[in-house]
Symmetry: C2
Subunit: 311 residues, 2 copies
């Protein structure tokens, strides 16, 4: 079976890890949000891509969900001693990724080619594709802090400012990266990972050349919201600030025109009827992935649900 | 007493460390070669300045002479795994210097200001000045390998190609960094450190606005050559390839128009008469600095020799 997963960072990484573990021979392509990418200390940093790649490579830090395991922090400590910007924590191993990627980008290599080569070197068996080789920048429009580049909002301001809308700078000039359209066309099913709908998945959906191909496919989403709260990150807070009650139902409505099914948590079983009324199939299981076993189990469950909707 | 030292990397660092230890209240300014500076992995790297600063700050690696002590190498290991250029060894702590410097340079700060701020943060009591804020690039012209940027010759090719001449790209547009001329004018004596005359000291002497001020001063050099061999690096090899017998006498001749005195090693006492015949005062002591005590002792000796020539 060929699956294309649309993913952001930590939630997406857990899901694709689970899918990969659940079925070793699975032909899995991950199309990753690059709206969070930014320039920092002269380097191009791609947080979601790195989290996905590190996770699939078995290099990720299981405690944080981002960065490398067995990491050292000598660079950032010394950078701070020199008065440098240390709000974005970069470990010594992680730094090599940013420096080498930036160097290659400056030499004219497209991001997708760099990601492919890094994945080959890290023995990642799945295909990881940035949504685009062109720069897209997610801008968070807040009620009291003006417009903030995503990492300023997310890391520097710890998601505290109330949001009112989002903008994806550069999205109109962003073409799908090589391989994105082909992999979608060849996919048996598209999985929308339990990533933030507003800032992780919407950038991908807003690339105008991608959406028509997705519309021809069977799509299943996994809710990033359980019992009205985000599993991680600001998704639920964003729904509230936008005047929408955060819930797996709100997520189903978010993707209503696109998805055939949604996977919600057992705790949200009471929402199943409302989801069904939207014309969306609702599956439920434990979708909170804390351990490797949780990820594997959800991977297996999602593959079973997929079997049920595409046969 | 006010001293201005002209210095390259390791030999210069040992000498200024010795001078600083020999006399805590010494007003010492180090004017450092920047001809070795280069762009690498998107970063501006200033090897001589860093070696001088790390040494004066007590942060240097005593085994290598360059880089930081108690260093980790996770960045470069991971960079290599990604197929990155690892021929120039950069430690994790050292990397913070390059990243922060590059970031500030890209934001328009002049190198001299950055070095000053780094030195303040590292509690360096001496004044460290790059010879110029403009880029100068030492080019090594070889007999069989064409023209090589200095670090390609020095690190990548391990000084193996035979040289025939040197060029200092950008030298005609290089102004002395702020403070260089003032410190020379106010100095009681100029010390030419036991650095490579061709590629560490000559770039400084070739900045046309510096030389006239040096000519008005009492200058003492310390030979980087002992018993016909370089203490470290390719100086002796360069003399040979240029058809000059490498010796402390050759160094004295190199600086003949500039220096009042030269400090040679006890092993080279037989050269003293020939040096005297050049009109240059010759002092001898142990100039091979292996231990901290060696550096301190040579520092004390040089201060004594200075006393004898400026009184």
């Amino acid at each position: 079976m060929k699956i294309v997963a649309l993913a952001g960072g930590v939630g997406g990484a857990k899901m694709v890890f689970g899918l990969a573990k659940a079925h070793a021979a699975l032909d899995l392509t991950v199309v990753v949000n690059t709206g969070d990418d930014f320039d920092h200390l002269g380097m191009r940093i791609c947080p979601d891509i790195d989290t996905i790649c590190y996770t699939l490579a078995g290099l990720a830090n299981p405690d944080t969900g981002w960065g490398r395991f067995d990491e050292s922090w000598n660079f950032i400590t010394e950078l701070k001693a020199l008065g440098g910007d240390d709000w974005f924590r970069i470990g010594d191993k992680d730094l090599a990724t940013h420096v080498e990627r930036t160097n290659r980008l400056n030499n004219g290599q497209p991001l997708s080619k760099i990601v492919k080569d890094f994945c080959d070197r890290w023995n990642v068996k799945q295909h990881v594709l940035p949504m685009s080789d062109q720069k897209v920048a997610t801008i968070v429009c807040t009620t009291n802090n003006g417009e903030l580049p995503f990492q300023d909002y997310f890391v520097k301001k710890k998601c505290e400012p109330a949001i009112k809308s989002f903008r994806f700078d550069g999205i109109n000039n962003a073409d799908p990266a090589p391989g994105v359209i082909d992999s979608i066309e060849q996919a048996d099913v598209i999985v929308i990972c339990p990533s933030n709908p507003w800032v992780s998945i919407d950038p991908i959906l807003n690339i105008s050349k991608i959406l028509p191909y997705l519309r021809q496919k069977t799509i299943i989403a996994i809710s990033p919201i359980v019992d009205g709260k985000s599993i991680k990150g600001p998704a639920a807070k964003m729904y509230s600030e936008l005047g929408i009650q955060p819930s797996a139902l709100a997520v189903a409505k978010h993707y209503k025109k696109l998805i055939k099914a949604i996977v919600i948590d057992d705790q949200d079983i009471s929402l199943a009827d409302d989801i069904t009324r939207l014309g969306i199939i609702s599956f439920n299981t434990n979708i909170v992935m804390k351990t490797s076993e949780d990820k594997l189990n959800l991977g297996k469950d999602v593959l079973n649900f997929i079997d049920r909707i595409i046969r």
